[in-house]
Every structure is written in structure tokens, then in C-alpha cells.
């Protein structure tokens, strides 16, 4: 095995006003040539610090305390400016997380591409342009002779990321570092990008270092996997060994928290209790000990050494793990039965429990709802002769939700799911249709009348920290709903304390401000605020987006417990299909503002009837390296709402579309199992 890059006991510190943060400690790894190596970890694991150290682009307050990074017979950390110039961008290149913010908004692609080629002094301007166009073609950007003169904001998210990959491949680097390359993209786009990275590897023979928190993506692409936790590598092995023979308790827990889409799961979501440790001091023992189910005294006192054994699934890659359980000199301990790792022993929640509400009346009933947004001012529309300057963000949507039920709303960005959620709580105007809550009509209510409704219908917002006022304490935030609705219910302080306890936040959090909370804690405050007035219905917009998987389960469990205790109805808006599958009873799939499939959640996942549902279900990467997909499920991207395709909206991307789909809008049809599908040729009967 040829080494391309080797990191030897690298330690990096950050100077902060609160002291030194030991962000990386003794990280050692080898990047083998021609392989895809995955670096997995949650936020705070140091994976970004690692790649920026390799690129020598650490923030100014970061210093390398120790270690070396060997590349091409030299230590990258000691490269002079000249050598660095030949390294960065030439030998090693990067694909970035968010293509919108990582490409210059004021330079067209031609400039950005040819700027990268500045080192090729032997090439003329025309040759550079030609090479850029060829590379854009190569990554599947159609019409690149013309599109190269466009700017990033002219490109859709998926196309922008393709351009980003083209930029990275332009200098034919020997190592490609991809930093969360699909996190900002939708499922169908993600599948296409995965395909592209795989192709790039086989065609250009690049070595890829893929950094992500998404186990599905890692399983789909990587040969080897490095698991990082709190600034250390805890396990390093072949991909199959990690997924089927994980040794470190953290790796096991991480995999358990990231359920596969098709895994039947009863009961609560697994979580890892506790928080990532404070890295202001070097931990005395194992970094994971405080959260580990198997830790004992040795674990919290002594640093474990790496124990290295031959990999089960690979002859080349050894399996190394940093855990006392596997230290040869501490025999005995391995007899722990790690397979029966029970992560959370809380009460079970079964699906039958939810079914008890069948007799109840509909809590929410939406009929033919239409929400339109103007695309231009009236004067401009008049001047430009546009008679209908509107787009339909929500188009003829009908849904129903009973008390105690959870309805999932799924779709790619731009499908109108957030708009629908906002329309229900009266934050968007409604063009036509009806929204009935407990039998009374909501459409047409004045803002004043709506205020009374909002006592019973609460919203959990997408951005947990951003939706909390930064100048109010948690206590003030929790009692705000009572003030708004003028309710005197015992003392405010007692109320806040009660809510805090309900979502299991310590009572001393009442005096904290939102910026002092972690993502999971801020979500808890969001849940508590939504629950404050004992609502009957909660609209939750991406309640776990941006959360680490180990915390995601906590929030979902909390929501489910509240549902069981109070018979709440949930409308759960999300693009995270595994979460939806494990939490929802009913599922509605949206595409361009329309519901294309609606019915029992399990049925939709087992046997999707609409081609788009099928694409979403198949497009989600599985945390299982044996089930890599060879083909991309659907091509193309979501059309713009202002350019709605005629006939069936999905026909432009549908692999099964026929002549009829192009001009005839399919009506919703009822399947035998009670699902409704908007498709001329449904895939299920």
C-alpha cells in the first residue's frame, strides 16, 4: 500500500478568551494512494480542524503544537511559500460544503476557473478557457460553452456543487479533500454528486479524503473510515469493519443513532447521553469515558492506547481502536457483551399506542389549499404584459391529521413544505381552499382572531438559536407565550420551572441566554415554548436539522413522549427520511407545491407508488457499505416554480413518463391500501 499523505501525532490548539482549546490531540493516520478515506465525526470532533491544518489554512488563533504531516517526502507544516504554492490547489484540492458561499459571487465561472489555472504559464488564455469548458462538461454541466460565462447565483445548488468539483479537479490533484460535499444538497442531488465523486476517482485516479457526519454518505463511498471524537481518532478500519464489526463504544453508538431507512424500529430513538467534553484541558483518561456505557475507573484515569488487530473484512487495512476494552494487557474486559449494547432503556413506544385515536375527530383538515406568492410588483407586471405574476408555492393540497397522530411532510427544497406549515399557523396568506382546525375554519381569520388559534396550534421553528431572541433569558423565553396570550397561570417562575423540567433542562438554565446553549439545548427550549400553552397541534419545521445524530434522538424522543402524554398532533416537516419513517404515522410527499403521494407511512416506504417517492426513498444513502448503488435514481433537478412544467409536474425527471404525462395533469387516485397518488401510472396498485 502506497502512502500518499501521512499524519503523525498531530496536535492543534486554539487560543480563545477562555483559554486554550486542545482541538486535536495526537492524531495519526495514513491516507493510502488511490483510495477514498472517510473521516466521520460529530460537531466538535476536530474533523474540520484536521483538514484545514493539512491545507495550512488554520484560523489565526490556531497553532500546531506538535506533529508532522508528510507529503511527497516533506513535512507540509514546514513548507516555505514556494513549496506551499505547489502543494495547495496543485497537489491537494478541495470540494467545499456550501457551494453558494464558497464561490465568489462577483466573478463568473470563466474567471474563477482560469484563475486556478494561473500556474499553467505555458497555456494561452484560450487553452485555459478550453480546459475549463472541458472540465465543466466532464462533471455534467450541460451547455458549458455558454454557462461558463455565468455567475454562481445563476446555477442551482446541484449545478454549483458540480462546478465546485470541476474547479477542484482542474489542476489534476493527487489528493482531493471533500468537506461535507453534499450537506447543503437535496437527496436526489446528493445521489448525483456521490456518483460524480466515484467517477472522478476511477477516471482521474485521485485519492479522496471525505469528511462528513453523514454515515450514509461515508458508507456509500469510502474504502477506509476514520472515526473522530473530541479531537482524537478513536477507531480506524476498513469500511466494512467499521459498519459490521465496530469495536469502540462510540462508533457503535454512532451507528445505532443513524438508523438505516429500511430498518424496522420499535420503541425509542437511540441517543448518546451527555455532551462532547470541554476541551480546555486534556482529558485525563479516555475522551469518551463520561458518556460511555462501559466505562470504569481505569477509563477515566488512564489514556487508552491504540490496539491494532488484523481487519476482518480487509487484508490490507488493520483495525485500530483506542479503547481500554481491547487493550491486550487488560484481557478480561473484552468479555463484556458489546453486541447487546443497550443505548437507552426508556419505556417503549409502540405503534399500536397511536392507533388508539382512530375514533377521534380530525384535528386538522386541509382542503384544496393554494398559497400564491407574487413574483413581481403589479406595475412591473402590467408594464411587461405578464397577466399572472404569481407562483403557486402550495397547489391544491388536501391533508388530514387526527389527535395523537404524526403526519410527515417530505420534499426537496422548493417543494413548498415550509410554506404549507406557515400557512397553517397563519403566517402566510392563503389564496384559496380551507384549513379547518377542530372543525372551525382558519382561512380568512384576521390576525387578531388567529392569535386565539395559536394557543392551540404551536410552531417549532427550523433554526433553533435564530428563532430565539438573543436578548432574553431562557426563563423569559419560556414565559413569553403566557404574556402574549395574557394568561396568568400561577407564578411565571413556576411555569418556567415546570416547562424546564418537562423538557429535562436543569433549572439553572433559566437565567442563561440562547448563545450559551448547545444546539440540542436550544431545540429543547423550542419544544418547551411550543408546549407552554398545552397546544393540540404542533407544526415542527425540520426539528432535528443541523443537530448531531447523538442529540437528534433526544429531541425526537422528547416529542414522542409529549405526544403520548398529551395526545398531541404533530405535523413534522423534514427532508430526513429515516427520521420520518421512524416517527410518523402518515406521510405526504410534496413536489412543486403538490402532494404527489399521501398515505400510511410504512406503506409509502415499503412500496412507494409515485416515481418521485421511489426516487426519494432509493436516493437516501444507506449506512451499509454492502449496498452501494450503481446508478443514480433520477436525473436533473427540481424545476423552478415560476416555470412549472405542464401536465404532470414530475414528467421532466420521471423515468417512467409517457406521452400522456406531458400534457395531462394526473388527478389524485385512491389505492387499495388507502393511499392517494397523483400519477398516471402508479408503481403500486
Amino acid at each position: 500500500m502506497e502512502k500518499l499523505l501521512e499524519i503523525r501525532s498531530l496536535s492543534v490548539d486554539f487560543r480563545t478568551p477562555r483559554g486554550r482549546v486542545r482541538a486535536l490531540r495526537e492524531v495519526s493516520m495514513v491516507v493510502p494512494k488511490g483510495k477514498i478515506i472517510g473521516v466521520v465525526g460529530e460537531s466538535g470532533s476536530g474533523k474540520s480542524t484536521l483538514i484545514w491544518t493539512i491545507m495550512r489554512l488554520l484560523a489565526v488563533n490556531g497553532t500546531v503544537e506538535n506533529g508532522e504531516i508528510l507529503f511527497d517526502g516533506g513535512n507540509v507544516l514546514e513548507f516555505d511559500d514556494n513549496r506551499l504554492k505547489g502543494f495547495r490547489g496543485e497537489k491537494v484540492s478541495m470540494v467545499f460544503q456550501d457551494p453558494m458561499t464558497s464561490q465568489s459571487p462577483v466573478l463568473d465561472y470563466r474567471s474563477q476557473f482560469t484563475d486556478i489555472l494561473y500556474r499553467r504559464t505555458e497555456m494561452s488564455r484560450r487553452e485555459r478557457l478550453g480546459k475549463a469548458i472541458k472540465m465543466m462538461n466532464r462533471v455534467g454541466i450541460p451547455d458549458s460553452e455558454k454557462r461558463i460565462y455565468q455567475y454562481p447565483h445563476h446555477f442551482s445548488g446541484g449545478m454549483r456543487q458540480r462546478a465546485g468539483i470541476a474547479m477542484a479537479l482542474l489542476m489534476d490533484p493527487s489528493l482531493l479533500i471533500a468537506d461535507e460535499p453534499t450537506t447543503a444538497l437535496d437527496v436526489t442531488m446528493e445521489a448525483q454528486i456521490i456518483h460524480l465523486i466515484r467517477e472522478a476517482r476511477s477516471e482521474f485516479g485521485s485519492t479522496v479524503m471525505l469528511v462528513s457526519h453523514n454515515l450514509g454518505l461515508i458508507a456509500e463511498l469510502c474504502d477506509e473510515i476514520v472515526v473522530m471524537y473530541a479531537g482524537e481518532i478513536v477507531e480506524h478500519a476498513d469500511a466494512h469493519d467499521i459498519f459490521f464489526d465496530a469495536k469502540h463504544p462510540y462508533t457503535k453508538a454512532l451507528i445505532a443513532c443513524n438508523p438505516a431507512l429500511d430498518l424496522e424500529m420499535e420503541g425509542q430513538f437511540p441517543t448518546i447521553p451527555g455532551d462532547v467534553p470541554d476541551l480546555h484541558q486534556s482529558p485525563a483518561g479516555c475522551v469518551f469515558a463520561p458518556r460511555c456505557a462501559f466505562s470504569d475507573e481505569t477509563c477515566s484515569k488512564e489514556r487508552p492506547a491504540y490496539s491494532i488487530s488484523a481487519g476482518k473484512h480487509s487484508e490490507v487495512v488493520d483495525h485500530s481502536v483506542r479503547c481500554h476494552l481491547y487493550c491486550p494487557d487488560k484481557g478480561g474486559k473484552t468479555k463484556h457483551d458489546l453486541t447487546a449494547l443497550s443505548l437507552n432503556a426508556a419505556a417503549d413506544r409502540t405503534r399500536s399506542e397511536i392507533a388508539h385515536c382512530d375514533e377521534a375527530d380530525e384535528l386538522l383538515s386541509i382542503q384544496d389549499l393554494r398559497v400564491r406568492f407574487p413574483t413581481m410588483g403589479r406595475i412591473k407586471a402590467l408594464a411587461e404584459g405578464v397577466d399572472d405574476p404569481f407562483i403557486d408555492a402550495v397547489y391544491e393540497v388536501s391533508l388530514g391529521l387526527r389527535a395523537g397522530e404524526t403526519l410527515g411532510l417530505v420534499g426537496e427544497s422548493g417543494s413548498g413544505k415550509t410554506t404549507l406549515g406557515r400557512a397553517i399557523i397563519g403566517l402566510n396568506g392563503v389564496h384559496s381552499g380551507s384549513i379547518k382546525f377542530k372543525g372551525s375554519e382558519l382561512v380568512g381569520l384576521s390576525q387578531n382572531q388567529y392569535r386565539k388559534v395559536r394557543r392551540d396550534v404551536a410552531m417549532m421553528f427550523q433554526d433553533p438559536v435564530g428563532s430565539l431572541s438573543p436578548r432574553r433569558t431562557v426563563g423569559q423565553l419560556l414565559t413569553e407565550p403566557f404574556l402574549i396570550h395574557g394568561i396568568e397561570k400561577g407564578s411565571q417562575r413556576d411555569q418556567a420551572a415546570r416547562l424546564c423540567e418537562m423538557v429535562s433542562l436543569p433549572a439553572n438554565f433559566l437565567s442563561r441566554y440562547p448563545h450559551e446553549l448547545s444546539g440540542g439545548q436550544a431545540r429543547r427550549v423550542g419544544v418547551a415554548r411550543a408546549l407552554a400553552l398545552n397546544p393540540a397541534l404542533i407544526v415542527a419545521d425540520e426539528p432535528t436539522a443541523g443537530l448531531d445524530v447523538s442529540v437528534q434522538g433526544e429531541i425526537l424522543n422528547l416529542m414522542l413522549d409529549m405526544q403520548a402524554a398529551h395526545g398531541l398532533g404533530f405535523l413534522l416537516i423534514s427532508h430526513n427520511l429515516p427520521v420520518i419513517r421512524h416517527v410518523c404515522d402518515k406521510l405526504a410527499i410534496m413536489y412543486l407545491g403538490r402532494i404527489v403521494e399521501y398515505g400510511d407511512c410504512e406503506q409509502v416506504f415499503r412500496n412507494p407508488a409515485h416515481p418521485y417517492s421511489q426516487a426519494l426513498v432509493r436516493g437516501t444513502p444507506q449506512p451499509d457499505p454492502t449496498r452501494r448503488r450503481q446508478l443514480v435514481s433520477i436525473e436533473g433537478e427540481v424545476p423552478s416554480l415560476s416555470n412549472r412544467p405542464g401536465g404532470c409536474e414530475f414528467h421532466t425527471r420521471c423515468p417512467y413518463s409517457g406521452e400522456r404525462c406531458k400534457y395531462l395533469v394526473p388527478e389524485p387516485s385512491l389505492l387499495a391500501d388507502g393511499r392517494t397518488v397523483r400519477c398516471h401510472n402508479p408503481l403500486a396498485e
Binding site: 490547489g89 478541495m94 464561490q103 459571487p105 484563475d115 494561473y118 447565483h153 477542484a168 489542476m171
Partner: protein
Amino acid sequence: MLLYIVKRIGLSALIIFFAVLTLFALLNSIPGDPASIALGPRATPEVQAAYAEKMHLDKPIVIRFLIFAGNVVRGDLGSDVFTNRSVSHTLLEQLPYTLTLAAAALAWATLLGIPIGCLSAIRPNSWLDRLTGVISIGTIAIPSFLVSIWSILVFAIFLGWLPVIGAGDDGDIVDQLRHLILPAFAVGLGWVGYLARMVRASMLEVLGENYVRSARAFGLMNRTVVFRYALRVAILPTITLIGIGFGVLLSGTVFAEIIFSRPGLGKIIYDMVLARNFPVVQGAVLVTVALYVCVTLIADITVSLLDPRVRENL
């Protein structure tokens, strides 16, 4: 791009139209008989009647506005009450002096302020950054008329290096330039600090953007990253600010023109207000407004040339 410029020019024309309307309304709302105001208290009734006739004071207000606006469009801003010279003629004589002064002040302020801002943003909290920070705040705080007086004291009186009064002899470029230095220094000084702080702030923000970091990760030269990727974006709010701040700059030239006895729009407005020579004041104000609108237009077009998102969003 062309469409953007056309639209933007259309908007500017609309603004000037409203300026003309406002000016007309203001002049018509001055209490008393316009003829006696315009001609002063010592005019005889015959002269006043003749003036009223000439200025169409007997006609309805709408007609008077149309005549006024029509004259403005044709470049006829009326005539000087005392000398009977064409106002536009007088103003055209004065305009170049003000323009040169404003342009010179702005030029040296930009050429110094923007690099200072850039340098301090590239090395934040360095000694250079701290030093320029203190000096910048100082120059912003000192009013330009004080700078004028002090610079006269130092450079003209004690050192005797530069002339003080007037704008220099016609045709003698060197002499004119020598006369330009002190007023341009006085008017521009505050702007150096202002621009430096402004550029520093936006540059610091842009240098932290992801695309700057990606440009570095692609191995681009530091020079390319700083100027092409960062400054090009960081400069945009500064250009808009210069456009808007040009109005303030023009009022700065009024002081400078008075103190240095330079001819120019500011000087003429000042003199003619004191002399109650309203047609000239009115014309000068109108020209100033037009100048201001033009500069804002240029600033907006420059921004749209640098930023594609702006030109697509009007």
C-alpha cells in the same frame, strides 16, 4: 447591463424632475410679492410690473411651473437680477472650479483611504492598524473649515510654500494646481479616515468569507485573493457611500471656497444668498442637485459593473 443603465438613468431623470418641482414650490411659497422679493425693496412699481410680466407672474401656477420646467430643460435658468446675465452662463463658468476641487479632494482621499483600510484589514490589530485607526478617527472628527484655517496658517503663512487666495491664473496649469492643493487637502482629509474605516470594516468581513478561504485553498496568489476576490466585494459599499457622501463633500467645498476665496458654486451660492439674487441661487441649487444625482448614478453603475447581482435586480 444596458437595460440596467437605461432604467437607472430614467430614475435619475425622475428625481431631478421632483427636485425642480420642489424648488419651484419653495420659491412660490416665500411670503410676499415675488417681484419685490426678487428685485429688492428699492425697485419702482414700473420695474416690478415689468418683471412680473417677464416672469409670467400673472399666469396660473400650473402654467408657471410648466414654463419654468420647460426653461430648465432648455438650459435657461433665468437671468441675474443685477447684471441681467444668463444664470446658466455664470454657473457654467463657476462649475469647473467646484468640480475640480471636489474631484481632487475625493481622488486623494480615495487613493489614500482605500489602501490604508486594506492594509489594516489584512493585518488586524497590528501596530499599523492601531496607528491608522487613531489617525482616521482624528481626521473624521476635525471639521474641514478648521483644517482649512490651520493649513493656511502652516503651509501658507509660516512655511510660505503654497498660495492661499483664489484659484490661480487662467491658462497657467501649474499655478492652478498649486492653488488647488490646500483646499483639496482640507476638503478631503476627513474622507481619508472615513474611507479607511469603512474599507477596513467591510474588508475584514469579506476576508472571513468562505469564498476567500476557498480561493486560498485553490492555491491562488495572496495578491489575487486580496484584490480580486476580497477587495472587489469589500469596495462595493464604499462606492455607494462615496456616491451618497458626495452631497456632504459639496457642502465641504462651500467652506473651502469661502475660506480660500476660490470661485465656484459654493462661493456663488453664499454670495448670492447674501445679495438676495434669487435666480442665481435657484440655478446654483438646481445644478448642485443635478451634480449630486449624476454622481450617485455613476456610483450605482460602477457597483453594478462590479457586482452582477445588482444589475439583475432592478
